[in-house]
């Protein structure tokens, strides 16, 4: 187990190296550059050249890359061209907001998705199942930002049940401990702040949860149907076991195997959805950094963000493989 983890972690290094080359080359192949984005349409070629020289962009790409790499090994991914601040500290500050949003969305998707998928399978063909299947089709098809604006219009603007945007109300003076607003309030016993943060979290989390929720419901439903028809469930029933034993030990334990893989994949995709959700709800996390970075062609920031995304994706997949090996004895880690 430990050897497996170490080996997989070592594999991450070449993966990230390769990715860094691709990201580096890809960003510089995009039309426009930081100088023209910064100086606008009326920039003279001289000013552009001047700025490029200051930013080191007049060097050959491979020289730029080696410099980047050299610094990266010392833990320095460069400074943002927009703010001049080290990109890692920018990211460090924005990360908790995005993680909070993603975790909330994932919790919603998993805690609702698995029971709904199970019930849908148990009541296959009945109204509950039909409604669920249609609901998941819609859920997967609706774009996140459209749903976000819709939720905002109805539940924030029209009904006034939730705040329309941001992470905190003006005037709330919360202590920052971890950067996770809801958690901080609990830690410092500022329950008002915690509650305030929670109300801000609801709409964006629901918007972000929709697609993973729909996917988890569908995978769970299909998987439960599959397992319900299997021979070993028939054996369990032939033993006269209590329905709760059959359901838990025999049906769910097997049906959740494919669901765990799906949860891992969805976690990776959640980051992409978070970018859109953050824009709608002015959330101020990684998504905001990314959007700004793209507009301004902030190479160092974009490089760091893309590599971070890749790293998260690789780690999540490692976690999925590990959890799979723990719940399925047939899987050998090698």
């Amino acid at each position: 187990m430990l050897r497996f983890v170490v080996r997989r972690l070592l594999q991450v290094v070449p993966t990230l190296l390769l990715l860094s080359v691709l990201v580096f080359a890809w960003l510089r192949s995009l039309p426009g550059g930081p100088a023209s984005a910064f100086l606008g349409d009326r920039a003279t070629p001289e000013r552009v050249a001047e700025l490029n020289r200051v930013l080191g962009l007049d060097q050959p790409v491979w020289v730029q890359y080696l410099r980047f790499l050299g610094r990266a090994f010392t833990g320095d991914l460069g400074n943002s061209q927009i703010t001049g601040e080290p990109v890692l500290s920018e990211i460090g500050r924005a990360l908790p907001a995005t993680v909070e949003l993603s975790v909330a969305a994932l919790l919603i998707a998993v805690t609702l998705g698995i029971p709904l998928g199970y019930l849908s399978a148990r009541h296959r063909g009945r109204p509950l199942d039909v409604a669920t299947v249609i609901g998941t089709l819609v859920g997967v098809a609706v774009p996140v930002f459209f749903l976000g604006y819709l939720l905002k219009a109805v539940f924030a603007v029209e009904l006034g049940l939730f705040p329309p945007s941001g992470r905190q109300s003006v005037g709330i003076d919360a202590t920052n401990v971890t950067g996770f607003a809801v958690l901080d309030g609990l830690l410092t016993r500022e329950l008002d702040a915690s509650w305030d943060a929670l109300t801000h979290l609801v709409l964006p989390a629901v918007a972000l949860a929709t697609i993973p929720l729909a996917v988890i419901v569908r995978i769970t439903r299909a998987s439960v149907l599959d397992v319900l028809g299997s021979d070993f469930v028939r054996t369990a029933n032939a033993k006269g076991l209590a329905p709760s034993t059959v359901r838990g030990r025999h049906v769910l334990r097997n049906a959740l195997l494919p669901v765990s893989t799906t949860i891992g994949l969805q976690t990776g995709l959640l980051l992409a959805g978070a970018v859109l959700t953050e824009k709608v709800f002015v959330w101020g996390g990684i998504g905001t950094l990314l959007a700004q970075g793209i507009e301004q062609r902030d190479y160092p920031r974009l490089q760091a963000l893309l590599l971070l995304g890749a790293l998260v994706y690789v780690l999540v997949n490692l976690l999925v493989d590990l959890s799979y090996a723990i719940i399925d004895p047939r899987v050998r880690l090698s």
Partner: protein, 337 residues
């Protein structure tokens, strides 16, 4: 061995009585499929009864209907399945669950898919002990190890922690037999328990089943498509064709003088021990699927070498002839066995 003794004991009140069992499956955009079409038979305490017929003739559906394990929807079961005089088909789900695994239990065809792949063998044995015998965890584990030992699984204590994929096919079927017999049921139904196993293992498993039912006094319904399997085992043999019993007899009599042309055909297609593996058997021409519905004559008529005009016009009724049940207008003469 116990076979003849079981037949003798069969005189008393039956343990299980299946009366006019009928199972229909609803089919999308078509008429219903009649899988079991009025089956009657009885099992005496300790008796070994064979249910024989080609694949698709309704053997599994019959056994699942007795156990009430057919899919929850899409089928209709009619008739009676009386155990100790109580109709199992009329019981509540909860009352049936009480009996399953305790009074009657079942061993299935494919031991790998019939065991839960992610639960240790030990738990799969103890859960039935805990459910029906109210045993606590530790005593149940000890009992489970003894059960595994009894069915011939070596190193049973260690095997309790093994998963199904770590056992061989034969060992898995032994484990399933241990599970089925854990609560000493009075009736065991074995649905083609050796079909998925290597030929060399088949005889061992059959021997084990015979030994265990003799030892525990359980009655056994042995379901198979292979008359060779019932040859050394059953007291009484029911031959099924197209969802109906076409011939029933005491085993020796059936093998000596098969009267129904279908039974006769089955017997001549039994593989001999000296035939090469995979060698074609003398198959009965046609297959069970292109049969006539029983409503319009004998379902076997299109494949029957002895078919007459009457066979395609009148459905043969079951008749008691010389201690056997026969459903045929033109049976094989008794002397021509």
């Amino acid at each position: 061995m116990s076979a003849a003794a079981g037949a003798e004991r069969g005189i008393g009140a039956p343990l299980l009585e299946v009366r006019d069992l009928r199972v229909t499956f609803a089919r999308r955009g078509g008429p219903d499929t009649v899988a079991v079409d009025g089956v009657d038979f009885a099992v005496a305490p300790g008796e070994i009864v064979g249910l024989v017929g080609e694949s698709g003739c309704g053997k599994s559906v019959t056994s699942l209907a007795i156990m009430r394990l057919l899919p929850e929807r899409g089928n209709r079961v009619a008739g009676e399945v009386r155990m100790d005089g109580i109709d199992l088909l009329g019981l509540s789900d909860a009352a049936m669950r009480e009996r399953r695994g305790r009074d009657l239990s079942m061993v299935f065809q494919d031991p790998l898919s019939s065991l839960n792949p992610v639960v240790p063998i030990g738990v799969q044995v103890t859960e039935v002990l805990r459910r029906h015998r109210g045993m606590r965890k530790e005593p149940a584990r000890r009992e489970a190890a003894e059960l595994l030992d009894r069915v011939g699984i070596p190193d049973p204590r260690r095997r309790l922690g093994s998963y199904p994929h770590q056992l061989s096919g034969g060992m898995r079927q032994r484990a399933l037999i241990a599970i089925a017999l854990a609560c000493r049921p009075r009736l065991l139904i074995a649905d083609e328990p050796t079909t998925a196993l290597d030929v060399t293992i088949q005889a061992q498993i059959l021997g084990l089943l015979a030994e265990l039912v003799a030892e525990t006094g359980a009655a056994l319904i042995m379901i198979t498509h292979d008359l060779g399997v019932v040859a050394g085992l059953c007291d009484t043999v029911n031959v099924l064709y197209g969802g109906r019993i076409v011939e029933r007899s005491q085993r020796h009599r059936l093998f000596a003088t098969p009267r129904h042309p279908y039974t006769h055909g089955l017997l001549s297609s039994i593989p001999r021990l000296d035939s090469a593996p995979g060698e074609e058997l003398v198959a009965i021409p046609g297959s069970v699927n292109d049969n006539l519905p029983w409503a319009h004559g004998c379902a076997f008529a299109p494949r029957c070498p002895r078919a007459m005009e009457a066979c395609e016009q009148r459905t043969p009724a079951p008749e008691e002839i010389g201690g056997r049940l026969l459903r045929c207008h033109n049976p094989v003469p008794a002397s021509a066995g």
